[in-house]
């Protein structure tokens, strides 16, 4: 039994997407990747709006798209896959109730029953009694709630989310995120997002796509804790530095790190093996060279203001320091860093 499984190959001039993914029934999988990595192409192909060059898509054990013989090409309306995007795309000429009732009515449901069901859906997404309003009277968050109700009322076999929260303010986005998590429980979902918080809140698994290929996948927190690429490190907000195992620790030139994590130390046991050090900018301390002769020596390239204080960029890693500690720092200054071994993890380089 499968919720949704697909091998999608879409070739274009200068650009090719080749992605295989498998989503269990009722599971939510988050998809992240840099702009232009092929996330939108993936969703368009799944929804049937983008023809495949090769591959196959099946939803709930039914093949809806296959390039190889016997060729299958199911129209979007018969796939049972609904796409929810940034824009709620509510039908502007229909009331909220008729918007939500659209799917069931198109599927042949009795108009009155469909409208009653629509009112129930509006209650579930937190908009009781909004049925008679017109889409233009709704705020952005309310529009997304209606879009979710409309999508789920059509009893889809799979739901695709294409960054449905980016156009909303943070507070509204938080509310909609909670509502999505509650309402999508039990629905096979693929959620494309730019925000690691969305992935953690909504999904069990995370798939990372870069340049049209899957570069990393697994349980969301595991992927974020063991970034296989600079992109994943950046969304997880951690430093990822490539080096080699040396003397039970990690080394890169004259930089040397150790870890207290047992699994990490096991990885570092083989001298010379390529090794990646992962640590948070908060776990890096700026120290005095005189009292810490073994500190990493580096140089400040850039200072950046953050909510918590100042982020210091160096060729080696990023360091978070408080506003008080940042006083007197300037780009070009030498800097001695020490990373708390308790905050360092080693990951095998791929």
């Amino acid at each position: 039994m499968s919720g949704l499984s697909a091998h999608i190959v879409v070739a274009r001039e200068h650009f090719a997407v080749d992605i295989a993914l498998d989503v269990a029934p009722g599971e939510t999988v988050a998809v992240m990747g840099p702009s232009g990595a092929g996330k939108s192409t993936l969703l368009q192909a799944l929804a049937g709006l983008e023809p495949l060059t090769a591959g196959e898509i099946s939803v709930g054990d039914r093949v809806v798209d296959r390039v190889e013989a016997p060729r299958v090409r199911t129209e979007p309306k018969n796939r049972g896959i609904v796409l929810l995007g940034q824009d709620a795309r509510l039908f502007p000429h229909l009331t909220v109730r008729e918007n939500v009732a659209f799917g069931p009515r198109a599927g042949g449901a009795d108009a009155r029953a469909a409208r009653d069901a629509a009112d129930e859906w509006l209650i579930r997404v937190g908009l009781p009694g909004a049925g008679d309003r017109m889409p233009r009277e709704l705020s952005g968050g309310e529009g997304q709630r209606v879009a979710v109700a409309r999508a789920l009322a059509a009893s889809p076999r799979a739901v695709l989310l294409d960054e449905p929260l980016v156009a909303l303010d943070p507070e509204t986005a938080g509310e909609i995120r909670r509502m999505l998590r509650d309402q999508l429980a039990g629905t096979t979902t693929i959620a494309v997002t730019h925000d690691a918080a969305d992935a953690v809140a909504l999904a069990e698994r995370l798939i990372v796509i870069e340049s049209g290929r899957v570069t990393q996948s697994g349980p969301v927190r595991e992927v974020l804790a063991e970034p296989a690429s600079g992109f994943v490190a950046s969304i997880a907000g951690v430093n990822r530095v490539v080096g080699v195992a040396r003397g039970g620790g990690w080394s890169n030139g004259e930089l040397h790190l150790t870890s207290t994590d047992a699994a990490s130390r096991a990885l570092a046991a083989t001298d010379g093996a390529p090794l990646v050090a992962v640590f948070r900018p908060q776990d890096v301390r700026v120290v005095d060279a005189a009292t810490n002769p073994d500190a990493c020596r580096t140089r400040i390239t850039r200072l950046e203001s953050t909510l918590a204080g100042i982020r210091v960029h160096t060729p080696f890693c990023q360091v978070d320091v408080s506003l008080a500690d940042a006083a007197g720092l300037a780009p070009g200054d030498p800097l001695q860093l020490q990373v708390d071994p308790a905050g360092v993890r080693f990951v095998a380089a791929r």
Binding site: K77, N78, G80, I81, L83, R89, P92, H93, L94, G103
Partner: protein, 262 residues
């Protein structure tokens, strides 16, 4: 739109040519109304010739508009959803009758449907159906272009959304595409009807000028001014009636705003 809030930044001096343009449109109509002989107005517009011309105009105009809707809306949909190159070719083809002098259209229709024409066997020329065909020929482009613009502007995104929700093509057409294009369709139908009842040149050449059969209001007015059939006073009265009909249609459509009643 707030009152006075959307004035923009057009130079104030443009008001002068704007007013001249407006006066140029309004003054001739005022002159027409000024020439109406009110003492005989009722008798003029209720004369048998006038009434039969009015009935013929409204009847043929309505049938022609209906024909335009039946073939024009599908044609507009097809053009709107074609690729840019094909759409440009089709749009040009649809525009030709629009820029063609109606007289030429009448001649062309005569060569197609006239007794010696390719479809002469149908025996349509100089009959009431010929009036309808002439009106359809000149009015169809107005409907097609207005509807095509509206359909193209509303795009395919809502249609895609509807398809993803499980709607079939006919359902999408009925519940999404046409309602979204409703303002354009209404505008197109109004233009189409107005053009149809005002049609003169093509009708005169292709359908002729037989009272009660092919003599529509414009032909009756022309005939009256030439001093045959009805009097010149009646001609002015008929012209006023045609004007009133056009304004009535406009007001009727303004009153029915698509979407507002839902």
């Amino acid at each position: 739109m707030s009152a006075g809030g959307a004035q923009g930044y057009a130079p104030r001096a443009l008001a002068v040519p704007a007013l001249i343009g407006l006066a140029f449109l309004i003054l001739p109509l005022a002159a027409l109304v000024g020439r109406v002989q009110w003492s005989t107005f009722i008798a003029d517009v209720t004369s048998e010739a006038a009434l039969s011309a009015l009935a013929l105009s409204l009847g043929t105009g309505l049938v022609a508009t209906l024909l335009c809707i039946i073939v024009g809306v599908p044609l507009a949909l097809y053009i709107a959803r074609s690729g840019p190159r094909l759409a440009a070719v089709l749009r040009a083809a649809v525009t030709v009758p629009l820029v063609l002098p109606p007289m030429v259209g009448g001649v062309a229709l005569l060569y197609l449907f006239g007794r010696a024409g390719w479809l002469g066997g149908l025996g349509l020329s100089f009959s009431t159906p010929a009036v309808v065909l002439a009106q359809t020929f000149v009015a169809l482009p107005f409907l097609v272009l207005a509807v095509e613009g509206a359909v193209r502007t509303s795009g395919v995104d809502y249609e895609r959304t509807a398809a993803a929700l499980g709607a079939g093509r006919w359902t999408i057409l009925r519940r999404i595409t046409l309602p979204l294009a409703a303002p354009g369709i209404v505008a197109g139908v109004v233009l189409c009807f107005a053009r149809a009842i005002g049609e003169f040149g093509a009708t005169a050449l292709f359908a002729g000028n037989r009272p009660g059969v092919t003599q529509t209001m414009p032909l009756a007015i022309y005939t009256a001014f030439n001093g045959a059939g009805v009097s010149q006073g009646a001609a002015v009265a008929l012209a006023l009636l045609l004007l009133a009909t056009a304004i009535a249609v406009l007001l009727l459509v303004r009153g029915w705003r698509p979407g507002a009643a839902r």
